[in-house]
């Protein structure tokens, strides 16, 4: 009898393990399918595959860099909606420094330093004054957007109605152009992802952050300080934002008030698309940002191609991608249903 019970419970554990692996691989499988569909559509329409793939990388890279750093914040069960504003502000300061010095290194260092400073201000103020993090980031969103807007308007190099700071010097444009390649961007992303994976998976930082996100009370009682790991999370997010801002400058060679305006919210979509719960905790994964970010951008591009002749297609694209987003989250969360409504 005992043996039968043991084998039954063993089967159940095995089944659960297989189910968990399938759910874990689902986002990656979805990315592969989306990529295959995208390539098929490009080839069927005789479009240039290389150019279109480059477009995908250019569109996704900033989102993926920012989202990868933001995983550390989301793991704690917290979130930062000022990431887009922080990207805009860092890019604004970065482009001013680049226009003045012509140094690529200074562009990257400035963007990272400004973004980390903004992130630190968020986390330090909230931990010193015991402020709720999300409200702090709401305030930061307004402040950073307004300051960046003022800087852009004052230093605008465009004569039109939309103020923007551009890199107009041809020598400086050549310098930016030299790094505006897919390989350079992929290298930046790979390096940052390796650092994040190392910190997240092979040091106590990641383990403790998952513990804090999963059960903050228990983690606190075992002596893990939320403030310290909160600051580390915001620093990592700041580095991602800084890299995203610098890469954005190398690609667009200009910064306007609309730069990265949707990044803050798209990060949520990317992370959830990548199979990570927004509540953080033990199921947090660094790769979720990369997989989810690329999936989201490829999906939007597929829909744009399919609906290219429809009036108001951008609206339809957004509706369909939102429905798919909700459907994917629904399927991915089937295993974690609770009796009462989630909050």
């Amino acid at each position: 009898m005992e043996e039968v019970l043991k084998s039954r419970s063993g089967d159940a554990v095995k089944k659960q393990k297989v189910k968990n692996i399938i759910i874990m691989l689902l986002p990656i499988a979805a990315l592969v399918v989306l990529f295959a569909v995208y390539v098929a559509i490009i080839l069927a329409n005789d479009y240039n595959l290389a150019i279109n793939l480059e477009t995908i990388v250019n569109q996704a890279i900033v989102l993926v860099l920012v989202a990868t750093g933001a995983i550390f914040i989301f793991t704690l069960g917290s979130f930062d909606i000022s990431l887009g504003a922080s990207t805009l502000f860092s890019a604004t300061v970065g482009i001013l420094v680049f226009n003045a010095t012509g140094s690529l290194l200074l562009l990257f260092l400035t963007c990272i330093a400004v973004a980390v400073a903004c992130s630190l201000l968020n986390s330090v103020l909230s931990s010193v004054f015991h402020l709720p993090m999300f409200v702090m980031t709401v305030a930061m969103l307004s402040v950073l957007t307004s300051i960046a807007g003022t800087i852009i308007t004052t230093n605008s190099t465009s004569a039109g109605a939309n103020p923007a700071i551009s890199v107009s010097d041809s020598v400086l444009r050549d310098i930016l152009g030299s790094v505006d390649t897919v390989w350079f961007k992929v290298l930046i992303l790979a390096l940052f992802a390796v650092v994040c994976i190392f910190v997240f998976n092979f040091t106590k930082v990641g383990r403790r952050q998952k513990f804090l996100g999963g059960n903050p009370v228990c983690a606190k009682m075992t002596g893990i300080p939320l403030s310290v790991y909160g600051i580390i999370a915001f620093v990592m997010a700041g580095i991602g934002v800084g890299l995203g801002a610098a890469v954005n400058v190398t690609y667009t060679m200009s910064v306007s008030t609309g730069t990265a305006s949707d990044i803050g919210m798209s990060v949520f979509i990317a992370i959830v698309f990548g199979g990570m719960p927004i509540s953080g905790g033990a199921r947090s994964r660094i790769y979720a940002a990369i997989v989810g970010g690329f999936s989201y951008i490829i999906l939007n591009n597929i829909l744009n191609l399919l609906l290219s002749s429809v009036d108001g297609r951008y609206g339809y694209v957004q509706i369909i991608s939102a429905v798919l987003f909700l459907a994917i989250v629904y399927v991915a969360s089937i295993n974690y249903r609770v009796k009462h409504l989630p909050r």
């Binding site: 108001g312 429905v323 989250v329």
Partner: protein, 361 residues
């Protein structure tokens, strides 16, 4: 004994009144000082006063809507998109029926409330069916509503549909938005403070599991909360259309979300006032205070002292300062009374004594 009770009641009444009026009074005093220093005046004409009431209505109703779900731990990013969608759909519907003629305003208001309520029901329905965290559902819903708004208008501005005499009344006659505020306040107060639905809502807010175990039905309660939020945001969409005389519909990629950020500061101020009286009254007083501040900003921008960027920074700083006060109230009180210095001195003495005792050992 009777005298004692009267004294106690009187003191209690005094504290409650002072607590309720403290923040609005502070706003009035500070604004009066700034006006005197800069040589400007606020609310000097009937049109400025009407704009003040209209903006107060927008802020108050958005704060009601935000606080309903946020108070229960349901973060709702779709509020702004509900307002825009209801305004656009109701404007198109009304214009197709009345062509901007007499009665357009009131008909559009009714349609806007109804469409908002339907949008809220859709949002709430999706949340209870999918059973995924409301923050994620609201992101999806916001994208869907923004997409529908774009499809309805192809991303262009809605102008002629809302520029008519009937709509102008809601912008120029102060009593119309004032009536909207009073009706909304009465409805929200009645629903949340005087009905079984409201009691259930409060019970679920304070203890979800215990409430469900005692037989309270969470699903219909949550859906009704979303319906009420939708109706409120529909009204906000209508008021914004009347005040701006156009509706901007190019709100794709979360362009509608900023609407909810305007309600954070009044929500926290309202919550603070609510400790002394009623939170709904608190939201109204906070809405009036924010609108007064908005009137001041408008006057200061006319003389070139402040622009929209500085204004956003001031509002964000006010939000942070108020939150610092709320979350460190005892420390602030000690700082004002000077008790904090005594505490520091005591702590220093204790440290010194502990050091001496360690050295003696």
């Amino acid at each position: 004994m009777g005298n004692l009770i009267n004294k106690h009641q009187l003191k209690n009444f005094g504290v409650r009144t002072a607590g309720t009026l403290a923040v609005p009074a502070l706003f009035v005093v500070v604004i009066f000082i700034i006006c005197a220093a800069q040589g400007v005046m606020v609310l000097t004409s009937s049109s400025l006063f009407a704009d003040f009431v209209c903006y107060a209505a927008i802020v108050t109703l958005t704060t009601f809507a935000l606080s309903i779900n946020l108070g229960s731990g349901r973060f709702d990013f779709s509020l702004g998109s509900m307002a825009t969608l209801s305004a656009v759909a109701s404007a198109q519907l009304t214009y197709s029926m009345l062509g901007g003629g007499a009665g357009s305003g009131i008909v559009m208001l009714v349609f806007s409330v109804l469409i908002g309520a339907v949008a809220g029901a859709f949002s709430g329905g999706l949340y209870v069916i999918l059973r995924i965290p409301p923050i994620i559902t609201s992101l999806g819903v916001a994208l869907i509503f923004e997409g529908i708004t774009f499809v309805l208008t192809n991303g262009t501005y809605i102008m002629s549909e809302v520029q008519n005499d009937s709509m102008t009344l809601f912008r120029t006659q102060w009593y119309l938005p004032a009536v909207i505020i009073l009706v909304a306040l009465a409805a929200v107060y009645f629903l949340f403070d005087r009905t079984k639905f409201g009691y259930d809502y409060k019970a679920l807010k304070e203890g979800q599991k215990v409430s469900i175990n005692t037989g309270i039905r969470e699903v219909p309660n949550a859906v009704w909360c979303y319906v009420i939020c939708g109706a409120l945001m529909g009204t906000v969409g209508f008021l914004q259309a009347a005040r701006n005389t156009y509706i901007s519909t190019n709100v794709l990629n979360f362009g509608s979300i900023s609407v909810m950020f305007t309600a954070f500061l009044p929500m926290f101020i309202g919550g603070f006032i609510g400790r002394f009286s009623n939170d709904k009254v608190g939201y109204l007083l906070a809405g009036l205070s924010m609108s007064l501040l908005n009137s001041l900003f408008a006057q200061l921008s006319l003389i070139g002292i402040i622009d929209s960027s500085s204004r956003a920074i001031v509002e964000a700083v006010l939000l942070v300062l108020f939150l610092i006060f709320l979350n460190n109230e005892q420390t602030c009180r000690d700082l004002v009374t000077g008790r904090i210095f005594k505490k520091w001195a005591e702590a220093a003495r204790e440290r010194k004594a502990a050091k001496h005792s360690r050295e003696d050992k």
